[in-house]
């Protein structure tokens, strides 16, 4: 089995989940309705939990460092998350559209990984299937209702989608180990995932009376998978380790 390719895959999944979970948790306490505040916060907690589970696999099975160290004390260029997850929360329209686009990609990725030759990821996919199902159910419901709600909500959702889409396509940036992990049966690859994702989101976007924008290949936000990040990641990581850095010897 190709360990480098496997690690690369797990790192990018974990980093995506950690950073988007961190971002979405920023809404806790300031959401648009109390009930939605609870729902969005739970999903953020789920995402951070998924990241932790993936780092645990990296640590326990693949010999990487302890999850807290990896997540809170790694340098920026070692992070493999896509730019999409790094963007600030913006207004609720953007956060919801990101949640919709990202979570469908994540759901399909785990669906594909349920067939993986790497058992630990198969088990994880099974374990979190229910959580992810709720996430996409939630995002679809909001997208449809706000897409068809009133003039303002329709316009907001469409412009959030236009803004978010080139970033979302960055999720599928290929890794240098793409062919090996496909050959080893670890993961069927980003190209295949993107194809399934486009099919999946198209029907929901249509039901929400929204339109997918056309995006030039050159506008896609690539780089994250190779350690080149948006201007937003570094400050976020600095925030995450602010407390730990005050006393690195301490147990928190």
């Amino acid at each position: 089995m190709n360990n480098e390719g496997l690690k690369d895959l797990l790192y990018k999944m974990a980093d995506d989940a950690l950073i988007i979970g961190h971002r979405n948790s920023e809404w806790t306490g300031i959401g648009p309705m109390l009930e939605e505040d609870l729902a969005f916060s739970s999903m953020a907690q789920d995402k951070i939990g998924h990241a932790q589970a993936l780092y645990k696999i990296l640590h326990e099975i693949l010999g990487e460092e302890d999850p807290d160290k990896i997540a809170f004390l790694r340098e920026e260029k070692k992070f493999k998350c896509c730019h999409f997850t790094e963007l600030p929360i913006g207004e609720y329209d953007f956060s919801l559209v990101r949640h919709f686009l990202f979570d469908h990609a994540e759901a399909l990725r785990y669906e594909m990984l349920a067939q993986s030759s790497f058992q630990p990821i198969v088990l994880l996919a099974k374990k979190i299937k229910g959580e992810i199902k709720y996430h996409t159910m939630h995002s679809d419901s909001f997208l449809k209702q706000l897409g068809t709600g009133n003039e303002e909500s329709h316009a907001r959702m469409q412009s959030a989608l236009n803004y978010a889409f080139p970033f979302a396509l960055g999720i599928f940036e290929k890794s240098e180990f793409e062919n090996e992990i496909i050959a080893d049966g670890i993961f069927a690859g980003e190209e295949e995932l993107k194809k399934r994702w486009l099919e999946k989101i198209a029907t929901i976007i249509a039901a929400a009376t929204l339109k997918l924008p056309h995006v030039d290949e050159s506008k896609i936000a690539y780089g994250g998978r190779k350690g080149f990040h948006s201007e937003y990641l570094k400050p976020l990581l600095d925030e995450m380790c602010e407390v730990v850095r005050t006393d690195p010897e301490a147990e928190w």
């Binding site: 109390l34 909500s153 301490a250």
Partner: protein, 328 residues
């Protein structure tokens, strides 16, 4: 002040005037004396409804505003365990707000109206949330001691007479036990940790000591009593009794960690009553009237949440649905 009533002199007077139907009032009071709960459809004295609504509404506001000081550290919590616990804890406070607004709604005021009254200053929330969370240790102290104080109050109130409020409080108290445990865990890690950790913890305790004494409201000797609210089981314990219960439960838990409170006079007397220095009740009044370090920010942030979320609620609203209050 936190699901707690403090009356003005005028209000206390009005409460004692009987202008209600004496037969219905007697039935109502008998029911409470028998230990039965009052439910939303029941006849109730106007003052009962008013005081209860005010109390539950303030309690609900305290929950959602109370989410903000600790929220300060959500993005900076130092590891997975603390980060997840903190998000879940702050989330619970919003959930408590949700439960309490529903309970208050059964008394005839909409959630939206209550939120509006919070933002326009007509309705108050607990003073303790007008202080800043300066360091990570504040999160520990809030989780352990502020939640500890809130629990003392909430457990007592859960024995009250209004069904929907008691039910909400039962659920809330169950969740609060998680808040308390995670707060204590955090305090103990800091207290048994490095010099730096102990130092920030002691500093946080020093800063929260007075607001914690203020939490239960002015001393009994300076506040308006209402026999009636006691009889109606709206108020179940005096401010001093609750404060004493809090000190009794929590001071030893700080002392056993070789930490101190910034008050040389703090001690338990032989009669079981805790003694402490005057915590500056003028400051308490100043903060209630908007002069605390964070009053402006708290309201501004809540206002942002309401305003920024309005387009979402507008889009979801169905124009032909009339407002209906929750059943119970």
């Amino acid at each position: 002040m936190y699901g707690n009533t403090s009356l003005t002199e005028e209000e206390a007077k009005r409460l004692n005037l009987t202008e209600e139907d004496p037969i219905k009032l007697a039935e109502f009071e008998d029911r409470i004396t028998r230990g039965e709960k009052i439910e939303p459809g029941d006849w109730m004295p106007k003052e009962y409804r008013k005081q209860l609504l005010r109390m539950i509404e303030q309690h609900a506001h305290s929950e959602i505003v109370g989410a903000l000081p600790e929220g300060t550290w959500i993005t900076r919590a130092p590891n997975f365990r603390r980060k997840l616990a903190l998000i879940a804890k702050v989330q619970d406070e919003i959930g408590h707000g949700q439960l309490l607004y529903s309970a208050a709604e059964t008394l005839g005021k909409t959630r939206e109206q209550m939120l509006e009254d919070l933002l326009n200053g007509k309705s108050k929330y607990s003073n303790v949330f007008n202080y800043p969370a300066l360091t990570w240790a504040d999160v520990a102290v809030i989780g352990f001691l502020v939640d500890g104080a809130a629990i003392v109050n909430q457990v007592i109130n859960s024995k009250g007479s209004y069904g929907p409020y008691c039910r909400a409080l039962e659920r809330i108290c169950y969740e609060e036990s998680f808040h308390l445990k995670q707060g204590h865990d955090n305090v103990v890690y800091l207290a048994t940790g490095t010099k730096h950790q102990r130092a920030i913890l002691q500093d946080a305790i020093n800063r929260w000591y007075r607001p914690l004494l203020h939490f239960f409201g002015p001393p009994d000797r300076n506040s308006q009593h209402s026999e009636k609210l006691m009889k109606w089981k709206v108020k179940l314990a005096s401010n001093d009794d609750m404060r004493n219960q809090f000190l009794d439960q929590y001071v030893p838990k700080i002392w056993e960690l070789d930490l101190t409170f910034p008050d040389p006079n703090l001690k338990k007397n032989d009669d079981g009553i805790w003694e402490f220095s005057d915590p500056d009740w003028d400051e308490f009044k100043r903060v209630i009237n908007g002069g605390g370090p964070c009053n402006a920010e708290r309201l501004e942030v809540r206002k942002y949440a309401e305003e920024a979320g309005r387009w979402v609620r507008n889009a979801l609203m169905s124009k032909n649905e009339k407002y209906v209050m929750p059943m119970a």
